[in-house]
């Protein structure tokens, strides 16, 4: 992973700047005061459970939704400015290509919409087809592609005009692990050339591949930073519970107020505790013959801890 410049120093150059974004759908407040900055050359992961406001945020930045309050600037312009359109690529979560058209026809259609010169575009298409290994399937209907191939085609269509800002809404949803790794490798290559990428994901292992992540909960960022640093700075102790009857241990853990989150880790239970709650839980578990073994927290623990804290705050 490459080092990125400190956000504050390059603030004026932010590719995407979101301030105080609010957007509601009827009575539901999907995004409730979101601040976010995305810089060239970085992958920013918008991480959160379903319904946290990830898609609304991305759609607003893409200019598909108007904000109720707050401002969104993409490359210094309003998101629905025609000049912005030429520099932004979007890969929506839903299927968004023409299923009755072939791989090649879809690519050609978007090439024409962006009015790319044919020779330049054909070179790019050839390269994207090679990178995504879709070249043998150029005449296949988009609807007949597998989930992973379809996503790669959608990515190719979004990259065709070499956008400076790429927005990906859960790009690996429904994609097998191999294709998933390929997609990320592909992204890395384009980011290396200075593209700014905003990617939303509900999966924690993908968050760790981002330069920076923002934890989104109920339409608000509850934590932001480099994934490894966020995990390092987690002040909640994390333990594995060893020994004892599993069902009984689980019952104890579920009722203990100092436990922020519990998740299965192999055959054992992993717990994230409030700072200073270790002794109390150890006392509760002792009668059941279970002990706490310290373990290294990972991103999921961080997320669960922050979510528990954010949810109660």
């Amino acid at each position: 992973m490459t080092a990125i410049p400190s956000p504050t120093s390059s603030e004026p150059d932010a590719a995407v700047q979101v301030r105080g974004l609010v957007r509601s759908f009827g009575a539901v407040r999907a995004v409730a005061g979101l601040d976010l900055a995305l810089y060239p050359g970085e992958i920013y992961g918008l991480v959160g459970p379903d319904g946290a406001g990830k898609t609304t945020t991305i759609r607003t930045i893409a200019g598909l939704l108007d904000p109720d309050a707050g401002t969104v600037r993409v490359l210094g312009l309003a998101p629905d400015d025609p000049r912005v359109r030429e520099s932004v690529g979007l890969m929506p979560q839903r299927y968004s290509l023409y299923g009755d058209l072939s791989v090649g026809e879809n690519l050609r259609f978007f090439r024409r919409l962006f009015c790319l010169p044919r020779d330049v575009a054909e070179q790019r298409i050839a390269r994207l087809l090679a990178l995504t290994r879709l070249a043998p399937f150029i005449d296949r209907r988009a609807d007949d592609l597998s989930g992973g191939m379809y996503k790669k085609l959608a990515l190719a269509c979004a990259l065709l005009h070499q956008p400076r800002v790429l927005l990906l809404d859960e790009p690996t949803n429904g994609v097998d692990p191999v294709s998933r790794r390929e997609l990320w490798t592909l992204l890395g290559e384009f980011v290396g050339q200075g593209m700014a990428v905003l990617v939303s994901t509900p999966t924690m292992d993908e968050a760790e591949r981002c330069h920076r992540v923002g934890l989104l909960h109920a339409g608000r960022l509850i934590a932001e930073g480099e994934p490894s640093r966020l995990v390092r700075e987690l002040d909640s102790p994390v333990f594995l519970v060893r020994g004892g009857d599993r069902d009984r241990v689980q019952a104890v853990v579920e009722q203990a107020p100092e436990v922020l989150a519990a998740s299965p880790a192999g055959a054992r239970l992993k717990v994230v505790l409030q700072p200073g709650g270790t002794d109390r839980l150890a006392e509760r578990l002792a009668p059941h013959g279970a002990t706490l073994v310290p373990t290294r927290p990972d991103f999921e623990d961080l997320f669960l801890a922050r979510l528990a804290a954010g949810g109660t705050a």
Partner: protein, 386 residues
């Protein structure tokens, strides 16, 4: 200047892309291709043959209570021109009424007892005619046929008696009505119906296909991907509807060609004028289709929405029933219906050979409504998608 040319070039490239995409996508769907090409033909033939407004062979039951040669002769003569056709005779008025009730006959002619005797004595005599009034145009034609015949027959009888009394042939002053039908001398429904069917097909096909085409993009999600490209909304809309305007022009050509060969529909006016009317009408149908799609989230909603509009559009146009036969309060509403103007214009051009200044009003109204609905649709389109 070069900037503007480049911008225009951009628009053309994008327009062509949307057009090609739409054609490719539509031609992939065999059902839609069928709907656009073969179905109109079948419909034209079915409607042309099935919607028969010609009145003849009205089933007629004869109740001869007199049994005289004079009565029989009179009835035979009445049935002679084919407007009325005899069914099996009845022996009583009650039986004839029952046949009318069951729909076995639409007309009953009753020759009263003593008909021949009264006639011979020169006394006024009556012949009773019962009519099934459920189909007003049919009963109207039947009663007209009967009274016309009996009127002529009465005059003949008077002339004969006069001749016998005065001992010589005398001319009786009389006025004879000889209606002559212009433009459709054989009173053939098909000639009148074919332009109506063509308009109906255009309305159904182009409205439905545009409404559902855009609704599909919205439903599937492709619209979202297109909207983040630099493609301007009007270009998208024009690119999406223009293939169907072309299809509409082709369909209407096929319909008129089929009408001319199968039903002998005349083409008396200029084809250019005919196509101008058609193109102006198509602005209305695709405009309505687009408008419906902006208030629909799914193809199903668009389909239902289109039908809610198409049905009254058809009924209040003069295609199936003449506008002057509608209730008075309903007639002004038809002035809002583009199909009405299309029909008036096309019938005038094809059947009467009307010129531009004859149908300028219809052409103007179609263009006005067409532009208005397209503008309304694009305003709504921007609001719903943005």
């Amino acid at each position: 200047m070069t900037d503007r040319r480049a911008a225009l070039w951009t628009l053309l490239v994008q327009l062509r892309a949307v057009f090609i995409k739409e054609v490719r996508e539509t031609s992939q769907d065999r059902r839609v291709v069928f709907l656009l090409t073969v179905a109109p033909f079948i419909q034209l033939l079915v409607f042309g043959f099935a919607i028969n407004l010609d009145v003849d062979h009205v089933p007629t039951v004869v109740v001869d209570l007199d049994g005289s040669p004079e009565g029989r002769e009179m009835v035979q003569a009445m049935l002679a021109d084919g407007t009325l056709a005899a069914t099996s005779p009845a022996s009583s008025v009650q039986e004839a009424e029952a046949m009318l009730e069951h729909g076995d006959a639409a007309v009953a002619i009753v020759v009263p007892p003593g008909f021949a005797r009264d006639l011979a004595r020169g006394e006024p005599t009556e012949m009773q005619v019962l009519l099934d009034g459920t189909d007003p145009s049919r009963s109207g034609v039947a009663s007209g046929a009967v009274s016309r015949y009996l009127g002529e027959r009465g005059l003949d009888l008077a002339r004969q008696r006069l001749a016998a009394a005065t001992g010589g042939e005398r001319r009786l002053p009389s006025v004879e009505v000889r209606p002559r039908l212009l433009f459709n001398p054989r009173l053939s429904s098909a000639i009148y119906m074919v332009p109506g069917i063509a308009g109906m097909l255009l309305l159904i096909i182009t409205t439905l296909i545009t409404a559902m085409g855009l609704a599909r993009e919205q439903e599937v999600g492709t619209l979202e991907q297109v909207r983040v490209t630099p493609l301007p909304t009007p270009v998208l809309m024009v690119g999406k509807v223009s293939p169907f305007i072309l299809v509409g022009l082709i369909d209407v050509t096929l319909a008129i060609a089929a009408g001319a060969t199968v039903f002998d529909v005349p083409i008396r006016g200029s084809m250019a004028l005919f196509y101008a009317l058609t193109a102006a009408f198509l602005l209305n149908t695709v405009g309505m289709g687009l408008f419906i799609s902006t208030i629909s989230q799914t193809q199903q909603q668009a389909f239902i929405g289109a039908f809610m509009l198409i049905l009254p559009g058809l009924l209040l146009s003069g295609t199936l029933t003449p506008i002057h036969a509608m209730p008075g309060w309903l007639q002004p509403i038809t002035l809002l219906n583009p199909l009405r103007y299309f029909l008036e214009g096309v019938r005038a051009v094809l059947l009467e050979g009307a010129r531009l200044d004859d149908v300028a009003f219809q052409l103007g109204m179609l263009s006005l409504y067409g532009v208005a609905i397209l503008v309304a649709a694009s305003i709504r389109f921007r609001k719903t998608v943005a």
